[in-house]
Symmetry: C2
């Protein structure tokens, strides 16, 4: 078998396995899904699974990497489609929220939470490459604001990138976790709360 063909076949098999795992993870949950389940669902023997992935976590990381790609793509669209700072900002926020709602299991991982030990070594999906793409995105966003002179003049671009990212992710995370409390104690839907928070945060970035 030619080297090219071989690589393609390998990719094909990996893709099948990942697709099967993805389905099971999303229906039964990650913990409840066994390697036997995955093998059966993907129509491979367990031994073969272990030829292509060295562990369950390896499969998991592969999936997270895929989603991170998807998310980055969507965020890029959001940011590039809008032409002023304000709409880019809200586009990005909403994009993240939608993603969190669609794939809550993966959202946390993308944010660096160690559902599966996001070991620094080895198959860490949140590699420099990805992180850079995401950061470049926010940088782009902020630059839009700087050009238009919307943004507070006392902010420094580089650290603000991370600052914005971390605050927004924190807000989304807590909104999801406290969803019930929001309703009961604040009498606010998650959506209302997020709208309020994003707006408040936005105001905090721009000149007044």
């Amino acid at each position: 078998m030619g080297a090219r063909k071989k690589i393609a076949l390998e990719q094909f098999n990996r893709d099948n396995i990942v697709a099967a795992a993805k389905e099971l993870f999303e229906t039964k949950g990650i913990e409840k899904t066994t390697m036997d389940d995955i093998a059966k669902h993907a129509d491979y023997s367990k031994s073969t699974i272990y030829v292509y992935f060295k562990s369950k976590e390896d499969i998991y990381n592969s999936i997270v990497r895929d989603y991170l790609d998807i998310l980055t793509g969507e965020l890029e669209l959001c940011v590039s489609n809008a032409n002023d700072f304000e709409s880019s900002y809200y586009g990005l926020c909403n994009c993240l929220v939608r993603f969190e709602e669609k794939y809550p299991q993966y959202y946390a991982s993308l944010m660096g939470e160690g559902k599966m030990t996001n070991s620094k070594k080895d198959g860490s999906f949140f590699d420099t490459d990805m992180r850079e793409k995401l950061e470049k995105l926010i940088e782009q966003l902020l630059e839009k604001g700087l050009c238009q002179e919307d943004i507070r003049e006392d902010l420094e671009l580089q650290p603000t990138v991370l600052y914005v990212w971390s605050a927004i992710s924190g807000i989304i995370q807590v909104a999801e976790r406290q969803r019930e409390g929001l309703d009961i104690r604040l009498n606010m839907s998650k959506e209302e709360y997020l709208r309020y928070s994003f707006r408040t945060f936005y105001e905090s970035l721009v000149r007044r």
Copy 2:
């Protein structure tokens, strides 16, 4: 044995077990610590451990609850010791950072992250009681700012409590996780970055 004595003894045993588990969790890590380890280290038989705790998670939750108590106490001190909004605010931030640095394993759990499945039911440490205490604290903090008319007039107290909490926790979380990146790409220490972020966030809360 009198009922009083019995309860005291029970508490004594539980405390011993928790103390042993705590040590092991902090040295070997939570996953790597087995029930046998805990039993041996606490000088009880495994069966006895299961008399006092119904599962490993039960022990873990007990520890987290303790730490949550400690943290709440420290935060209360920080906030009540300071008399203006600004110093309360920074006190609270620093208190949280110190805590995160001392007990990184538990910080995430306190923030609601499900290292061990923070099941809604049952032994969820982050119970309404605790959450309320924490929220009351931030409320107190914000009220200080409102009295002094430091705080932006367009903010609503209740949702802002959660907003402030989530943004600050997000900032701390990311600062820890991206520690390396901060150094390399921003040429900033974690401390510098946090100082910058907290200040920026502070500015975003007050009138200008």
